[in-house]
């Protein structure tokens, strides 16, 4: 069977959901005739027409606002941010209107905001960001950040069918770099469930998105040194799967969190607090973080390399932690 990239998995999810339910519509900048900046929506307009695949002005607040309004009418809009960095332009619409509607006045907002995120492709400071934590800090939203083609497809389908607003981060470094066979039949991956990618006993490495792959590479190297790391891919950042995190920690007693997001206010801090509250007695060492620097994402490859976590940095940190 043919192998699908993560981008193809996302594209398949869009086609299949639009086929399944005419309440699903797509809107965004250049998503129609052009097929989106990364061609995720290529062919969508030709098949489903301009009423369902809407090229919008460059106006993120209008895109999200309109998606929200459409959802009040029973539609399930999928809005694309050309790059997820631009979600900053509609921060108010997302955090104050979309996120709060159900809690305040009982209006569910079944929309998906999706877009390419993350660094490692030399996109520079405005095309490489990981702004997920602004939204993890916003009650009412769900935040999903897959690392495999299978998960991306299954989670996007779940996101579209979810009655709540879901922010769907697509790591652009992974778009065409990973491939796997995808089932031909319809399937979903549940939102809010982490995946144990590798079983281990010596320490737990928690990660997501591109860093899940980095963590797996690090675990392979650590195994050569006799350190067996358990690797967990969070997949969903909000709501967080605290059960999987705590049960792994109870087994390994040591925790390393790896994320591509910047350090201060990254999810590692939240997870550290969660572990201190829920499994303090089980800890045999400090909770360690490997994260990006607390800087904007720099442009030059030498600088970006310094900025990002990588396998070597993860291995080094894990090696130290394993000594406890």
């Amino acid at each position: 069977m043919a192998q699908s990239t993560m981008l193809e998995g996302i594209r398949q999810a869009l086609f299949e959901e639009m086929e399944r339910d005419p309440a699903v519509v797509a809107l965004g900048e250049d998503i129609g005739v052009y097929g989106g900046a990364f061609k995720v929506t290529e062919g969508l307009l030709a098949k489903y027409g301009p009423e369902r695949v809407i090229d919008t002005p460059i106006a993120e607040t209008a895109i999200v606002g309109a998606a929200c309004g459409m959802s009040f009418m029973g539609l399930r809009p999928v809005a694309e941010m050309q790059f997820i960095d631009f979600i900053a332009c509609c921060f108010n619409q997302v955090t104050n209107f979309v996120a709060k509607s159900h809690y305040l006045w009982g209006a569910p907002v079944p929309i998906v905001l999706r877009g390419p995120s993350g660094g490692g492709v030399h996109g520079g400071p405005f095309h490489s960001a990981n702004p997920e934590m602004y939204f993890v800090h916003t009650p009412g939203l769900k935040v999903v950040y897959p690392s495999t083609a299978y998960d991306a497809k299954g989670l996007l389908k779940s996101a579209i069918r979810d009655n709540n607003p879901v922010l769907f981060f697509e790591h652009k470094f992974l778009y065409r770099r990973i491939k796997e066979e995808l089932p031909t039949e319809d399937y979903t991956v549940p939102i809010g469930k982490a995946a144990v990618r590798r079983e281990g006993t010596d320490l737990t490495i928690l990660s997501y998105a591109a860093m899940a792959h980095t963590s797996m590479e690090a675990a392979a190297k650590l195994a050569q040194e006799g350190i067996e790391a358990e690797v967990i891919d969070l997949r969903t950042l909000l709501p967080l799967d605290s059960e999987t995190i705590l049960s792994s920690l109870k087994k390994t007693n040591k925790l390393l969190v790896v994320h591509e997001d910047t350090r201060t206010g990254g999810i590692a801090g939240e997870i550290a607090a969660l572990v201190c509250e829920g499994a303090f007695e089980d800890l045999d060492g400090p909770i360690v973080r490997v994260t990006a620097l607390d800087t904007p994402v720099p442009y030059a490859p030498t600088l970006e390399e310094r900025f990002l976590p990588n396998t070597e940095k993860v291995v080094a940190a894990a090696r130290e932690l394993a000594k406890y």
Partner: protein, 433 residues
């Protein structure tokens, strides 16, 4: 009386309705001022004194199936839509019986299922794209609805305002924006915010039809809104209507509005919308003193009961704060289709994905186009733009405008007929229509 030409005459009942809702709006708010002074209102209280004709006249132009999103001073619009006064009382008093069960105050509540109301938020302008989306979805589902929201002179400066108008215009959404010019954005006069005479003048720049009306004349407001709503329902939206009115109190109860010149209050007090309308009803013999006192007594009676209900209602239990962040299946989400789904699914929905750019955007046409649009009338060569409104002073078409129009017609005649701007329609049917 300014405003677009009359489409239809109001019946006597409708005339009395307008009075009832305006007076209900005012009396309700006067009671809330008293409750505020008794510390029974939990948060702020915003007055629409002097602006009742705007809320009532515009909302009265909507049908039951239509959608609206009020602003803080549009309690009158909610009343017209059938919201009982108890909902306003309980919202302000943060009661568990309020539409938001105490989670938000003021007119911040909605009703998706029955009355088609979208809740406002305090960040101004965001409702413009939201209601554009409501209108677009309504059209998509074949519902023939119109979506309406309001924005103040102050809110018209926000980015969301412009983004929303741009999207509404490019989508030709069945959407009516009421620009409620009440002269003051908190303490800042219009002249320090927007250096144009009429806020509706901005509509031309979006290619949106508009009108400017006397916001203290409820019938003029209704007629303008009715024309806009009818136009939008007929597929000729969106519309922007500026209503000139005056905020007769401060921004909220705490604000004595000392920055407003006394003469300005006097000018507008002499134009009070309710007093003016009462005079009209009397002079036109639409009512007599007996009818008025009957309506006033009815309002008094209704408000007594509604206020009593609110005052006797409990506050929400503390643990309720933890509920409702997510919809965990507590709501069913279902679109109301009023057209065949087959129209929006393949093969009927399929198109050839290719842009067609009329006139190619060249400079030659733009020279004439600019001349042609120097009035309020928008460019004829631009298929995305509508015409300026009568009220906006579009005169007879100028000679260059006619030339542009002829040229556009000639271009169109040369081009293949098309249904959408996407190539030549459904795949496999090219050239058959």
């Amino acid at each position: 009386m300014s405003g677009p030409a009359t489409r239809e005459q109001l019946t006597r009942e409708q005339h009395l309705d307008l009075y009832y809702y305006m007076q209900l709006n005012r009396q309700l708010e006067e009671r809330m001022v008293r409750l505020f002074r008794q510390n029974k209102i939990v948060g702020g209280l915003y007055s629409s004194l002097g602006q009742e004709a705007v809320s009532v006249g515009t909302a009265y132009a909507l049908e039951k199936r239509d959608w609206l999103a009020p602003m803080i001073r549009n309690i009158g619009a909610l009343l017209v839509k059938g919201v009982p006064p108890r909902d306003i009382f309980t919202q302000h008093m943060a009661k568990y019986t309020s539409p938001t069960k105490g989670k938000d105050g003021t007119s911040h509540f909605g009703d998706l299922k029955v009355r088609h109301i979208v809740s406002p938020i305090s960040m101004l302008g965001d409702l413009i794209p939201v209601m554009t989306g409501v209108g677009m979805a309504g059209r998509y589902l074949g519902q023939k609805i119109v979506a309406m929201t309001w924005i103040g002179d102050g809110g018209s400066s926000t980015g969301a305002f412009h983004e929303g108008m741009g999207l509404a215009a490019s989508q030709r959404a069945p959407f009516v924006l009421i620009v409620e010019n009440n002269q003051w954005a908190y303490s800042t006069p219009v002249s320090r915010q927007v250096p144009v005479k009429n806020l509706a003048d901005r509509a031309v720049a979006y290619g949106v039809k508009s009108a400017t009306v006397d916001g203290n004349d409820v019938v003029a407001v209704y007629r303008a809104a009715k024309e806009a709503v009818d136009e939008c329902r007929a597929g000729r939206g969106p519309w922007m209507i500026e209503v000139k009115t005056m905020r007769m109190k401060g921004h909220a109860q705490h604000d004595p509005a000392e920055y407003v010149p006394e003469e300005m209050f006097a000018y507008w007090k002499a134009r009070d919308p309710i007093a003016r309308y009462e005079k009209f009803l009397t002079e036109s013999k639409t009512w007599d003193a007996k009818t008025k006192s009957e309506i006033d007594a009815r309002i008094e009676r209704e408000l007594d009961a509604e206020q009593k209900f609110a005052e006797e209602s409990p506050m929400p239990p503390p643990e309720f704060a933890e509920e409702g962040v997510y919809c965990d299946g507590c709501h069913t989400i279902e679109a109301e289709w009023q057209r065949p789904k087959s129209e929006v699914t393949p093969p009927r929905a399929s198109v050839e994905a290719a842009w067609k750019v009329e006139g190619f955007g060249g400079f030659e046409d733009s020279i004439e186009g600019v001349k042609a649009t120097s009035g309020a009338s928008a460019g004829k060569a631009n298929s995305g733009a509508g015409n300026g409104s009568k009220a906006n002073g579009s005169a007879e078409k100028s000679a260059p405008a006619k030339r542009v129009e002829e040229k556009a017609k000639a271009l169109a005649a040369k081009a293949e007929p098309e249904r959408t701007p996407f190539g030549r329609g459904p795949k496999g049917k090219q050239g058959k229509r």
